[in-house]
C-alpha cells in the first residue's frame, strides 16, 4: 500500500479497489466502522445484532462496489447500504421498522424552518437534547435527525441516503424538532 493512502479520498480508494487492489478495502473499514456502529446503535440495542449488521453492511458494500460511480460521494452510497441493512434488521425484529413508503414523499412540499430550537444552544447541548428525545420519535423522523445531528450530513446527503426528495428531508427534520420541543416543554413542566 502506498504511503499517502490515508490522505486519499474515499472515492480514490474505491477506484483502486474497483481496479483489483482489494487490499485497500480495509482502509474503508477503518474509516467507517466506528461511524456505522454509532449509527446502528441508535436503532439496535443488542451488541450481537449490531455486529452482525455491521458485518453485513461491509460485505454488501464489497460485493457491490463495482456499481459505485466514483464521481459521486462514497459516504452517501455507503450509508444507503447501511440504511437498507437496518431496515431489514428491524423488519426481522418487527420492532419499530423503518417504513418503506411514506405519504410525505407523495406530494410536493415546501419547508421553511423557523423553529428556534437550536438558538442559544451549542452543538453539544443540542446533541444531548436530541439524544434524550430520540426514543420518542417515530422511525421516519428519527433517521434524518440522527444523520443530521450525529453524522453531520447535509440535507442533500440525507436525501441521497434515504432516496427521498430534499424537501421531504427538510419537512421531517422540522417536524422532528417540533416534536422534540413539545417533549422538552413537557419535561420542564414535570420537573418544575
Amino acid at each position: 500500500m502506498g504511503e499517502n493512502t490515508s490522505q486519499k479520498k474515499d472515492e480514490e480508494i474505491v477506484s483502486l479497489i474497483q481496479s483489483g487492489k482489494i487490499e485497500f478495502f480495509d482502509i474503508l473499514i477503518e474509516r467507517y466502522e466506528a461511524k456505522i456502529k454509532r449509527y446502528s446503535r441508535k436503532f439496535l440495542s443488542d451488541h450481537e445484532d449490531i455486529n452482525d449488521v455491521l458485518q453485513n453492511i461491509f460485505i454488501k458494500a464489497y460485493k457491490n462496489i463495482q456499481s459505485f460511480n466514483t464521481k459521486r460521494k462514497f459516504s452517501s452510497w455507503f450509508y444507503r447500504i447501511a440504511h437498507n441493512e437496518l431496515v431489514n434488521a428491524l423488519k426481522k425484529k418487527s420492532k419499530n421498522p423503518l417504513p418503506l413508503f411514506n405519504l410525505d414523499t407523495f406530494l410536493p412540499q415546501y419547508f421553511y424552518d423557523k423553529n428556534n430550537l437550536e438558538q442559544d444552544l451549542s452543538q453539544q447541548q443540542m446533541r444531548e437534547i436530541v439524544n434524550k428525545c430520540l426514543d420518542k420519535l417515530e422511525p421516519k423522523y428519527k433517521e434524518p435527525i440522527i444523520l443530521y445531528y450525529f453524522e453531520n450530513l447535509s440535507y442533500q446527503e440525507i436525501a441521497d441516503i434515504l432516496e427521498i426528495p430534499i424537501s421531504t428531508v427538510g419537512i421531517r427534520i422540522k417536524r422532528a424538532k417540533e416534536k422534540m420541543k413539545k417533549f422538552i416543554k413537557k419535561f420542564k413542566k414535570n420537573y418544575e
Binding site: 473499514i29 466502522e33 458485518q55 464489497y62 412540499q109
Partner: protein, 247 residues
C-alpha cells in the same frame, strides 16, 4: 470466548474476502441489471399504452364511450359496464412501473406525485395516439376472421360483448316505428322509438348511420330510451364489416 468472537469485525470481513467466501460482483452484472430494469420499464410502458388504447377502443366499439351524453341513466350504465378488470390491470402495471422508475435518482429526487402524473399522462396520450390509427380496428377485423389466434378471444370478448341495454351498430332499414340495427357481431335488432326516446344529438336517422341505442332488449326487440348518432371519424372499424347483402 472462542476464536471467532475474539476476532475484530475488520479481521472477520477481510478473512471472508481473502478466502473467497465473499466475492465482488463484476461490472457487467450491474450493467445487465440496469439493462433489464430499463427493458422492463419499456415493456411495461408499451403494455400499459396498449391496454389503455384497447380500453378506449372497447368503449368506442361498444358505444359505452357515448353514454354520458344520455344523462344520469347513461352514466349509470357507463360506470356499470366499464371494463373494470382491464382498468385494474392498468393501475397495477402503472404502480409496478413507478416502483421500477424509482430506482433512478431523477425519479426519486422529486415527489412521487410528479412521476406518477408523468406516467399516467404519457400512457393516456400514447393510448389515444394509437387509437387515432387503425391498429385495433385491423386486429379486431383479423380476430373476427380467425386470423389472430392469441389475441382473438380478447378482441371478440371486448369487441362484441353481449350487453343487455347498450347496442352499437349501423341502421340497416327504416321501419314504421323505428329501424333495424345491424350490430358489430352481425346480429339484427329491431329498434322501436317511443315519444319518450331521447335524441341528445339530433332526431334525423338515415340508413347507414352509425348509432348507439340504449334500452333493455326483449328477445330481438329494443324499446329505445335514447339514440345517438356517431361521428364518421370514429367509424374506421365499421368500414371493414362484411356487407350483409353479400352474405
Amino acid at each position: 470466548m472462542n476464536n471467532q468472537e475474539q476476532k475484530s469485525i475488520k479481521e472477520r470481513i477481510l478473512e471472508k474476502i481473502e478466502t473467497g467466501q465473499v466475492k465482488m460482483r463484476p461490472k457487467i452484472y450491474f450493467l445487465l441489471k440496469t439493462m433489464l430494469i430499463v427493458g422492463g420499464i419499456f415493456l411495461i410502458s408499451g403494455f400499459i399504452i396498449f391496454l389503455i388504447s384497447f380500453i378506449h377502443f372497447h368503449l368506442r366499439i361498444t358505444g359505452l364511450w357515448y353514454l354520458p351524453s344520455f344523462g344520469f341513466r347513461g352514466l349509470g350504465i357507463y360506470f356499470r359496464l366499464l371494463p373494470w378488470f382491464l382498468i385494474l390491470i392498468s393501475l397495477i402495471l402503472i404502480l409496478i412501473l413507478e416502483i421500477l422508475a424509482k430506482r433512478f435518482s431523477f425519479v426519486w429526487r422529486r415527489p412521487i406525485f410528479y412521476s406518477l402524473l408523468a406516467i399516467i399522462l404519457i400512457s393516456l396520450v400514447g393510448g389515444f395516439i394509437i387509437n387515432k390509427t387503425p391498429f385495433h380496428s385491423r386486429l379486431f377485423f383479423q380476430a373476427r376472421q380467425g386470423k389472430l389466434p392469441l389475441m382473438a378471444p380478447a378482441y371478440r370478448q371486448f369487441g362484441m360483448p353481449k350487453f343487455e341495454d347498450v347496442h352499437r351498430g349501423i341502421v340497416e332499414k327504416l321501419t314504421e316505428n323505428g329501424f333495424l340495427l345491424r350490430k358489430t357481431d352481425d346480429e339484427l335488432l329491431k329498434i322501436i322509438l317511443t315519444p319518450d326516446t331521447q335524441f341528445p344529438f339530433g332526431k334525423e336517422i338515415k340508413i347507414d348511420d352509425s348509432v348507439v341505442v340504449i334500452g333493455k332488449r326483449d328477445d330481438n326487440t329494443v324499446r329505445a330510451f335514447g339514440i345517438r348518432k356517431i361521428d364518421d371519424q370514429f367509424r374506421t372499424f365499421e368500414y371493414r364489416l362484411p356487407n350483409p347483402q353479400m352474405k
